[in-house]
């Protein structure tokens, strides 16, 4: 993780809606155990921060929960759903575990790589798409699949992917939200 300058530090601030959502979560845990809300809070603030966690964002979370920044970093680096670098507007998370592989997940990944001209973990130059591989998502019977935002896209084919990418470019794809609303 890159060092943070003091200037950058603690500059992150969250929207009133996100802060309200955080306040709604904290009482679910006994007094003094609010750190338990950390994983969910990180999902919320990642969503607000264009899909990734900057050091400034994590530091602000530490402040809110009254814990050390390192306690946030060690969690953020452990779980695969947190992105520690900027990602494209549409993060395509393609499952490549056994059952999806049987149904052609690897071929689809190659197709996506070619079509988007990026490798796994990379973002298209227009900032629209990032390609990521993920492990079994609990959709093995509806393979191959990918998750984009809140939603699963199952029984994927090349044709479906073509249509999906077009819909993304046309701004017709909803990503969902962690906020209950």
């Amino acid at each position: 993780m890159e060092a943070v300058s003091t200037k950058e530090k603690n500059q992150a601030s969250f929207s009133p809606e996100t802060m309200a959502e955080i306040q709604r979560l904290l009482p679910r845990f006994p007094e003094g155990r609010q750190k338990s809300a950390l994983l969910r809070i990180l999902h919320l603030v990642q969503e607000e921060n264009d899909g990734w966690l900057s050091t400034a964002v994590m530091d602000r979370v530490a402040e809110i929960l009254n814990i050390q920044p390192i306690e946030v970093y060690e969690v953020a680096t452990f779980y695969t759903m947190y992105n520690l670098k900027p990602v494209g507007k549409y993060l395509l998370e393609v499952c490549h575990t056994g059952p999806c592989a049987i149904e052609g997940a690897e071929r689809l990944l190659e197709y996506l790589k070619q079509k988007l001209a990026i490798g796994i973990g990379e973002t298209t130059t227009d900032g629209l798409f990032t390609l990521k591989t993920v492990e079994c998502m609990g959709a093995c019977g509806y393979a191959p699949m990918m998750q984009v935002g809140e939603f699963y896209h199952e029984h994927l084919t090349e044709a479906k992917i073509d249509r999906f990418l077009e819909d993304c470019r046309a701004g017709k794809v909803a990503l969902g939200t962690w906020k209950l609303g």
């Binding site: 679910r28 006994p30 155990r33 750190k35 338990s36 809300a37 950390l38 994983l39 969910r40 990180l42 999902h43 929960l65 306690e71 060690e74 969690v75 452990f78 779980y79 695969t80 759903m81 947190y82 490549h96 575990t97 056994g98 059952p99 592989a101 049987i102 993920v134 492990e135 079994c136 998502m137 609990g138 959709a139 093995c140 019977g141 509806y142 393979a143 998750q147 809140e150 939603f151 969902g176 962690w178 209950l180």
Partner: protein, 446 residues
């Protein structure tokens, strides 16, 4: 037609809403437990039912409940394990998507039996939309007096919350789940102390799988005896099986335990046979962690008896010729599938998911992946095959949590049952890149 205890109402339109669920007889189990039964008698019914943990290990739920420590003045917690990340497993997802109130009902009855005031559903973060489904249902349950203070006017008060993970298979292991729920990395804890004595925030804690907790509803409604009358031997009740791979009808099926495996695979009521008229090559019957079995051993035991969908029958023959029911993640492979490639894929998964605490698992899973990678990609050597067995043995039993075993078993069993296919990859590196070995024992000589 198989009897359905859990999915009976799953197809009814609007069943995710409180009104429809209640109209179908929902929350009767809570009424019955709280008004007509003592916590002890609920526990007794669960014991009588013979219900065994549906998360993978198959430990008797009633016995597990009776281990929960009950020191004065310290809260106890009930946790629902909704992490569902074992490759091949997608049954809890269906239960929660379609029947969120069934899970809530089961958790209220369970918490009453256990004397828990608070419970959490720990759900994998990828199931984002289900978090909302559950929270909507929980809000309805509060609004209708099934959750909160003094439920149904009794002394029993109970709060239920949902809390998501963030992408880590290991958090399905119960002590890793607890760590994660405390807002930390999912590193499993050394046991003892067991969670039943010291778990979440050092309090006595009980962790049960989604399906186990749902099963408490029919057990309370119809009695433990009625539940135990279904199934076979010590495999009582029904079990959700998520079937995937090269079959005509992938999906989630509720079966009566004891159903012949052959019927499950070939009957139109279930998997509907192998896709494209191909032949069955192998099955992983209980999620990626359990041993893979070749067609002849999944349909019949080594002793020649019909293999049944039950804890005992699937384990018949031990690790020499048997496997496990596990989580019920049933993965079917046809003759075109490459066992070496599949084994490499799974070992990559375990290497990726190892939390890294224990050297045998952290290093061993990496070595397995590497050796399998070179075997699959035509750079393997004959002694690599025994090396795989050797590494597996050195991981197995030498780690804090069973992820190490889960990584070792699929490799050891693949080599045991499909050694000829591994050898072929070494002997014919070019050929093995181009085509698969087919049905190991029936393949034409190359």
């Amino acid at each position: 037609m198989s009897r359905k205890l859990l999915l009976e109402h799953a197809e009814i339109p609007g069943i995710t809403t409180y009104e429809v669920y209640r109209r179908q007889g929902g929350y009767r189990a809570v009424e019955k437990a709280l008004k007509e039964m003592t916590p002890e008698s609920v526990l007794d019914e669960v014991k009588i039912s013979g219900l065994r943990g549906r998360g993978g290990a198959g430990f008797p739920t009633g016995m597990k409940w009776s281990f929960l420590a009950k020191p004065e003045g310290i809260p106890r917690y009930l946790l629902c394990n909704a992490d569902e990340s074992e490759p091949g497993t997608f049954k809890d997802r269906l239960l929660m998507e379609r029947l969120p109130h069934l899970l809530i009902e089961g958790m209220i009855a369970s918490a009453y039996a256990l004397g828990c005031r608070t419970a959490y559903i720990y759900i994998r973060g990828e199931y984002k939309w289900i978090v909302k489904t559950l929270e909507r249902a929980i809000a309805e349950a509060y609004a209708n007096g099934w959750l909160g203070e003094r439920i149904l006017g009794t002394d029993f008060s109970f709060d239920l919350h949902v809390t998501p993970g963030a992408g880590a298979y290991i958090c399905g292991e119960e002590t890793a789940l607890i760590e994660s729920l405390e807002g930390k990395r999912g590193n499993p804890r050394l046991k003892p102390p067991f969670p039943a004595v010291s778990g979440l925030w050092n309090s006595p804690t009980l962790v049960n799988n989604v399906e186990s907790l749902c099963a408490v509803v029919p057990i309370v409604n119809e009695g433990g005896e009625a539940f135990s009358a279904i199934g076979i031997g010590r495999s009582t009740g029904t079990k959700l099986i998520s079937a995937c791979g090269n079959i005509n009808k992938p999906g989630v099926y509720e079966i009566e335990l004891g159903l012949p495996v052959e019927e499950f695979i070939y009957s139109d009521e279930y998997c509907g046979g192998i896709k494209n008229g191909k032949q069955l090559k192998a099955v992983v019957p209980g999620g990626s962690s359990v041993p893979i079995l070749p067609a002849h051993l999944i349909l019949k035991t080594a002793a020649g008896e019909d293999r049944l969908m039950s804890y005992e029958s699937l384990a018949e023959g031990g690790f020499v010729s048997g496997s496990m029911l596990g989580s019920g993640g049933f993965i079917v492979y046809d003759e075109d599938q490459c066992i070496v490639r599949n084994t490499w894929n799974f070992s990559r998964f375990y290497h990726h998911e190892s939390c890294g605490q224990c050297s045998p698992c952290r290093e061993g899973t990496g070595w397995l992946e590497k050796v399998l990678h070179r075997l699959e990609h035509g750079h393997g050597r004959m002694h690599d095959i025994d090396l795989l067995v050797d590494i597996s043995k050195k991981i197995e039993g030498n780690t804090i949590c069973p992820l190490g075993d889960a990584a070792a078993w699929p490799v050891a069993s693949a080599v045991r049952h499909f050694r000829d296919e591994f050898e072929w990859h070494v002997r014919e590196p070019q050929l093995s890149q181009q085509r698969n070995f087919g049905l190991a024992r029936e393949a034409v000589a190359v």
